[in-house]
Symmetry: C5
């Protein structure tokens, strides 16, 4: 490793050294400072928050002997969630989903983990921090986090990420309920392209949750020495969470599909109503207008015009015709 380069640029690394009886927080300014911890056999968590500092990542890769492709996956923020086993560590990629506005403006952030015998490294872009509660738990001397291995520690971090998904799901549920209400109340505000954006957001979440589930399934099946049997119930629990999230997503997708159908049928129903109005008015008045037109003709010989009760008779005709029409429409259930 070239230490000269690393000293040229100040870095900020958080390292938490911990064990059943102690807990220390260190701010490292160079990757060199990691080495003593590696040799000490004490467990430590290294949190790396700068994925753009390629040099820093390469130095860490050298220290922990991380495969070139794993480092590239860490850097590439388009990497799908996955788990890969290497000889001396396990490599995980996961995705944080959150939103600062609403469900159609989801932000996705990649969090990668590397954990081995006595170390956990987490790599994040750090625009949104969800690990604070975990730091608090680590300070608790009676917590499981200090006692159990690096696999349990990683599970805790991963669980924090997946718990966030439920927040997003709930937002989606609320959004769907709002659309439902608007559609049921026949609101004019609702637009199909709005519903479309929600469906797109669902797709985005689905695209993340599928490989996440596979990743956790790979953990379950793993026979790596870094994954201990006693963590199994916990990881099964996370697995169930992913299955549940997927089922919810599926239900939400179906709900949206049905809402679109109702929206479309409402358009048809409204058009039907508009047509009926037009037809009723036109069907009543067009024949009447014709009759009026007839007696507005200027023929010299039109005997009705001289009749004493002609005008009254014509009004009677108008009335009878109108009533007949109304009756017809009533029979057809148009009112």
């Amino acid at each position: 490793m070239d230490t000269n380069k690393s000293s040229a640029q100040p870095v900020s690394l958080e390292l938490y050294s911990f064990g059943e009886n102690f807990f220390e927080k260190h701010h490292l300014s160079s990757t060199e400072e990691i080495k003593p911890f590696m040799d000490s056999e004490k467990k430590f968590w290294l949190n790396v928050c700068d994925l753009k500092n390629a040099k820093l990542l390469n130095e860490i890769a050298d220290i922990f002997d991380i495969h070139i492709l794993a480092i590239e996956d860490i850097k590439n923020n388009q990497q799908r969630p996955k788990l890969e086993e290497f000889d001396h560590f396990i490599f995980l990629v996961s995705k944080m989903i959150y939103t600062k506005k609403d469900i159609t403006a989801l932000e996705i952030e990649q969090v990668s983990f590397v954990f081995g015998k006595n170390f956990i490294i987490s790599f994040q872009e750090n625009t949104y921090d969800i690990f604070d509660p975990i730091r608090l738990r680590l300070e608790n001397p009676h917590g499981r986090m200090r006692k159990m291995g690096t696999d349990y520690f990683t599970y805790t971090l991963l669980d924090a990420i997946i718990d966030q998904y439920y927040v997003i799901l709930e937002m989606m549920d609320n959004t769907i309920e709002e659309i439902e209400d608007e559609i049921t109340n026949d609101s004019q505000k609702i637009k199909l392209s709005d519903i479309y954006l929600k469906r797109k957001a669902l797709q985005e979440i689905k695209k993340i949750i599928w490989p996440t589930r596979e990743m956790i399934a790979a953990w379950r099946k793993s026979e790596s020495p870094f994954i201990k049997k006693r963590t199994a119930p916990f990881i099964n629990d996370v697995y169930e969470h992913t299955v549940e999230i997927m089922e919810n997503l599926e239900m939400q997708r179906e709900s949206i599909t049905t809402l679109v159908e109702i929206f479309m049928s409402n358009i048809s129903l409204k058009q039907n109503e508009v047509m009926k109005t037009l037809t009723i008015i036109a069907t009543i008045f067009i024949p009447l207008t014709f009759i009026a037109g007839v007696y507005g003709m200027n023929f010299e010989f039109m005997p009705e015009l001289q009749w004493k009760y002609g005008y009254i008779l014509i009004w009677s005709l108008f009335l009878i015709s109108t009533l007949a029409m109304i009756r017809y429409f009533k029979k057809k259930h148009w009112f």
Copy 2:
């Protein structure tokens, strides 16, 4: 276990101790009282009806050595149905579905089971009781429930829960038939959003029955010492029930989809009818009105107006035009 705490709050636990030759019902006021039964090697059923009393659940967990995650699943009423094998017991989560109103107001209640060598514990929220007939069967000295093991006992409880699903399915069948009738009779009352609610209810049931089937499949495949071979035909029977319920759900879903299609096509057909009415009236009278308008013009030189039979001729024209139109519409099958 901290007995002081448990004595601080009065609890209500039902415990049924039973064997081939005896059956006793006990009302326990503290979890301490469970211990003698555990040691006696007699079979007993403990029914816990208060999932909000966290302390009570924790005490039970301590006595029976139930894993922390299982207890959390018991408390969390959103848990999916599942079966988990532990060293000294089997843990089951199931869902009761019932309704106090109609099919669109389903209520879902979680019932969890823990059974081991000589004990069955059932955990329920207890707003709706379906285990009464089972208590009766237990009182019968010749019944299978007393003779067979804890696995058969749990099967009996589970079977009672799943039998309830058929009630819901039948309600759904009736609802669908009602919609069918209304649509066929072209009722004006029916609304697409009503059908939508039914479809949503179907989804809810489906979301429960799928993992329930998996749970029973897991039972079938289990090689736990607590599951005996002679219970296999019974559990196969429940499994078949879940498959049958799923098939019925699928058929109901297809029926609803088709009903929506018919509903939509009826709208189209009605609109077509409305349009035809408008078109027939307008097409007959608009040209006539024009002709009447022509002879209402005030041109000085209009020879027809002076003709002796002008007025009669014009009425003939009206008549012929109308008949021609009617014939045209008949040919087009618009009547």
Copy 3:
């Protein structure tokens, strides 16, 4: 077994005892009479036609040692087709489909089989008999039925049931062709709800054929001593039949879906035609009526009214306007 009870009620049981060299038909009036046949090691077929006589079924269950759940499946006429292996017999449930009217009034009848080393028992509700040709084949001394085992015998009965499905499929094919013709000829008689009933019938058949296929697949995979290797080609043949039936059902379902689409598009096309008629008439005459209206006004100063050729000019205007409109519609391909 309690023989007193069975003698209290007269029963009617058909028993066919047969072997390579003989064939005897017996009418039994009590289940007691079955026992000598069981001991004689000769093959026999017992046909039970009364599923409502619970006592009779229980007696038979006692004689042949049939599991309680199997007997319950035999009684429950909602049981899905299935095969279950027991120690001393194989249990099969199958469904007969037939209709006395048309495809939308399918009747489904459950036929169950139990066969062991030297006996075949068939249980049916007996409203519709399809086993007559089999009785004839049994009378034939050179037929395979007498020579081969009970598995082949059961296959023959099952094959007779499944052959019936083809009759139903053909009826469905004819029905679909009729709908096709009606839709192509743009018949007014056809209604979407009729097509819906056909689709429902398809679903019903599908619901039976799926588990039937599974049941036959279970037979193929069975390693029971009652299923001999030489029957394999025959059972493969039935299996293929079920696959073929399922493929046909799927094609019929697709055909119906497409017919509904065509039906709906025809509605749209007709509406389009209606609209065109209205538009053509209205577009031609509304402007003309306006012009006629203008010259029906009573202004004192309207120079055109005094023109000598005013009336002729106005008619020319009417004509030119009409011709222009017609040309426009022709260009738009509305005629």
Copy 4:
């Protein structure tokens, strides 16, 4: 075998005896003449072209010891493609697809094969011959057909059949392109029921290609002594062809679905255009007609009628109103 019967009816059988160094064609008039070839250990191909001659088929079945069910499959021209292994031969059913008119008049012909150690028998209805090029290849002394085994020979015949499918696929492609062109050019000729017939043809091909693929997959997996390892690459090749054909069918199906969608949307668009025309004309002229009607009234006191410029003012009003309407429609993008 009863030779008397076979001599009673003249039969026509083609038999090709071949080896690396020789090739002979024989016209047999009786099945008796086959036997010498069977004993000679030389390879031969027997082509049977008359599936209605049950006696002939039964005689062949006797000679080659073909199972009764295989012979029934050969006779039944509704048999699905399949492969079945028997002790001394392999039995294959395949389907030839061709058309004498167009894609909606597909004709399907069944071709079955039986091949064993030194013989290949092909059974066809023989209304359409595709094996001529193979006869030519057989005459070529350097061709692989003479050198390799009966499995390779059967592969060659099968390959000829499957190659025909591509011809049909290409016809379908052309048909779809024609429909595409007609729809894009908004042709009036196209009808939904025509597209429907194409979709039906696709279904028919799909119904054949699916089991054909399974049949070839069964060949690949077969461990029969009649299938040699060196034929594997060739059969893999045919397998790939079937996969490719299925993918093409799927693409064609999707294309047709989309074309139907476009067709339906075109109807909607046209209806929209018709409606716009009507609305523009009616919206402009109906108010004008009303105004003209007003001044056609006969009230004694109507001051406007006496105004000097009344008539000119009214025309100005007509003009302004029309221009305002046109502007409104332009804003709404109706032109």
Copy 5:
């Protein structure tokens, strides 16, 4: 091999001989010149750019002992991507996708690979070259390409091909976004048949990417001696790329489907608006025109005509009627 023939026609073959310490580029004019490289045990890459020169391909097939079917697959540019293992080499077919215009004019080019112990042969039609960057990497003496085996080399070439797919995907993303914008802005330019062409392009890519994924999966599972363990992470990486591409394709397909739905609903909405305009105008003016018509009648006895304020009253009636109508439409939310 017949060297006379090969010398008869000038060929152009690029051969790159390389090792850890050297790199040489050779232009060969005859296939004869390949042989020395084969014997030298040095690794070399042979790039063949002329798939129409059958003789050349046959000569190469002879030199490297390539199976006849592999050579036919290389020639046939309709071959699906696949991997086949042979005794002394591995054969791969892949597809390059690129476009010179836009996403609806995709061009697909087949690139095949054959690699063995020390050689890699690539076969391409060579209208589009993407291997230039790889030639540059080969010139770099520190690059992995020189050090690792022929499997890594082939991976590099394959990776370059698959990276191109992302370019196409991005073009598709942009196109979909454009359509989205046009639909949201209710552009008049957009046509359903344009969207159709995009969907067709998606289908084409999908048809290639599916077998490509299978091909890489076959590589992963391969136990060929030519595929070394250390290349596994790299090939896993490409595999993930294909999975990711498929997921993106699926999302794009769903997006297009939804866009079509929105497009169709917009047509309905517009039609609704047109209908409303017509109905409002017609409903207001048709009754008014009738009233005006009434007072245009020429009956002798029509008392209203003599009323002093008749004309003013009639205008009041017109006004009130219009206002009432407008209020009605407002209540119905038609404005």
